[in-house]
Amino acid sequence: MDFSNPISNLFGKSPIRPLQEHMSLVVSCAKQLEPFFDAVITDKWDNASEVFDLIVENEQQADRLKKEFRLSMPKSLFMPMSRGDLLSILAQQDEIANTTKDVCGIVLGREMNIPTVLQTDFIGYIKSAIETCEKALKAINELDELLETGFSGQEVKFVKKLIRELDAQEQKVDKKERKLRHRLFKIEADIPPVNVMFLYSTIDNIGAIADTAERVGNRLELLLAK
C-alpha cells in the first residue's frame, strides 16, 4: 500500500536546479569552441571532428534537459518567479548550445581556414565570448541563493553586480568583434569571396553567442524586479 500524501504532494520540483544544470551543460558546450578552433588553426581536422562530436552530444543532452524542464512546469505550479521568465531564460540558454553547434558544424563541413594574421585575435575573441558565457553561468548559479533570501537585500545587489560584469564582458567581446572584422576587411581581397562570406558569418555567430549569454543575464534581471 503506497499512500499518497498531502504534504509531499504540495511540494513541486523546484525549477532552479534543473535550470542551473542546463546552463552549466550549455556553457561546457560553448567552452569546446576553444579546443575546436585550436584544432582548426593547426589543420588537425580529425581532432576538430572529435571535439565537434562532443559538442553535438552536449547540445543533445541540453535539449533533453530542456524538454524535461518544460514538462515539469505545469501551470498549476506556484513559484517565487514567473513561469514565463524562467522559460525565456531556458530558451536563451539553449540558444547558446545551438549556435555553438551551428558555428562548428559549418567550419568543420567547409574545412575553413582562418587566415594566419587573424589567428591570435580570433582565439582571443573566442576566449572572450566563452568568458561571457561563464559569467552568465555564475549569475544563474546565484538563483538558489536568491530564493533563499526571498529576492531581497545583499544578494540582489550581488547578483546585480554579476550582471553588470556580464554586460561589461559582452561589450569587450563587441569591441574585439569590430576589430577582427576590420582586420578581415583589410585582407578580404586576397581570399576567395565565398570563404570571406563564411568568415564574416562565423565571426557574427560567435558574437551572437556572447549576445545570448548577455540576454540570459538580462532575463535574470527581470526576476529581480519586484
Binding site: 500524501n5 504534504i7 504532494n9 504540495l10 511540494f11 498549476s76 506556484f78 526571498g150 529576492f151 531581497s152
Partner: protein, 425 residues
Amino acid sequence: MDLFSEYGTILIIMAAMFGLFMAWGVGANDVANAMGTSVGSKALTIKQAICIAMVFEFAGAYLAGGEVTSTIRKGIVDSDVFSDQPDLLVFGMLSALLAAGTWLLIASVMGWPVSTTHSIVGAIVGFAAVGVSNDAVNWDKVSTIVASWVVSPVMAGTISFAIFRSVQRLILIHDNPFERAKKYAPMYMFAVGFLMAMVTLLKGLKHVFKDVGITLSFGENALVAVGFGILVTMLGTYLLTKVERDVSKEEDNRFYNVEKVFAVLMIFTACSMAFAHGSNDVANAVGPLAAVVSVVNSGGDIAAKSSMPSWILLLGGAGIVFGLATYGYKVMGTIGRKITELTPSRGFAAELGAAATVVLASGTGLPISTTHTLVGAVLGVGLARGIGALNLRMVGAIFLSWVVTLPAGAALSIVFFFFFKGVFG
C-alpha cells in the same frame, strides 16, 4: 439501564478497539504529515523525529488536549436530547469512530488528503442529525468548528509569512547572516517555549492545578510561561554554541552555515508541532471513546460529571505510537525524500506558524486539521517567495476532500448507527 449492565463491557471493549484503530490511523498518517517537514529539511533523522513525536504527542495530548477532547465528547451533540436515551449516544459514538476510521482507510488507499478531524466531526454530526433528530446537533458549535477550518489555514499562513519575512529582514538580507542567525535564533526559541507553556498552563493544567488547590492569575501564568521560555532559550543557546561555521561549504551555498543554525531551531519547532498535534488530534480518537466510557460507567447518566479515566489517554497515546512504529515511519521517509527543497529556515517558519495556530485552537477547544493548517503555513512561506515550487493543485484537492469527507463520514456513520441499534437495541 439493562443494556449497560448486560453489554457494558462489550460496548467499552468495542469502543476501545475502534478508538485504537482511529489512533493507529492518526499515528500512521497524520503524525508523519506534522513531522515530515523536519525530516524533509534534514533537520532531524527519521529516528529522531519518531522519538520526538512519541514524547511530545503524548505530552500534548495529556497536558493540552482536554479542551478538544471535551468538544468531541460532548460539544457537538446536545446532551439534553440524549438524557433519556443514553444508549443512542453510545451507539452513535461507536459508529462515528468506526465510520471515521473506515473513511480514513479508504481515503488513504485512494490518496485523498482527508483530515481525521473532518471525518470524526462529520460522522458525529451525521448520526446525531439523521439517526436521532436535528435538535440533537449543537449547530452553533458545529458552525464555529467549520469556520475554524477556514480560519486556521489562513491564520497559519499569515503567521508563517510574517515569521519568514522577519527571518529575511533580520538575518538573510544582511552581510553576515551567520552571526545574525546566532543572535536572533534564541528569540524564536523563546517564542516557542513561551507559547507552548502558556497554552498548557491556561488550558491544560488548569484542572490539575484546581485539583491540588492552586489557582494562578493570568499574570502569574504569564510569568511561569516566561520562565519556561527562558529555560528553552538557554537550552537552545547551549545547542547553538555547538554549531560551528564551516567556511569551506559557503562557496557552494552561502547560507550553508545559516541553515545549520536553523536546523537547531527546527528541533524546537518539531517538538512544538508534535505537541500541538497531540493536543488537537488525539482527541479525535479519544473523545468518542471517552463519551462511551463515561455513559456506560455511570449507568446511562449523561450529565454525570466524570473525569476522564487516564487509561483512555494512554490508549490514545499507545495507538499513535503503534501507528508510527508500524507505518508512520515509512510515510515520514516518503515525505522526507519528496520535500528536500524545503530548507530549515523555511521549514521552521512553516512549522512554527502551524504549531502556534493549532495550539491556540486546542486552547479554545476547536478541533482543526493539523495537516490542512500546515499546508496553509507552507503556502504562507511560499507567498513570501520562499519556496521553489508549490503544487497548487493540492489546494484544490484539499478543498474537494472537504466537500466529500463531511457527507461521506456522515453517511457511513448513519449506516453503522442503525446497524448497532439493530444489534443491541
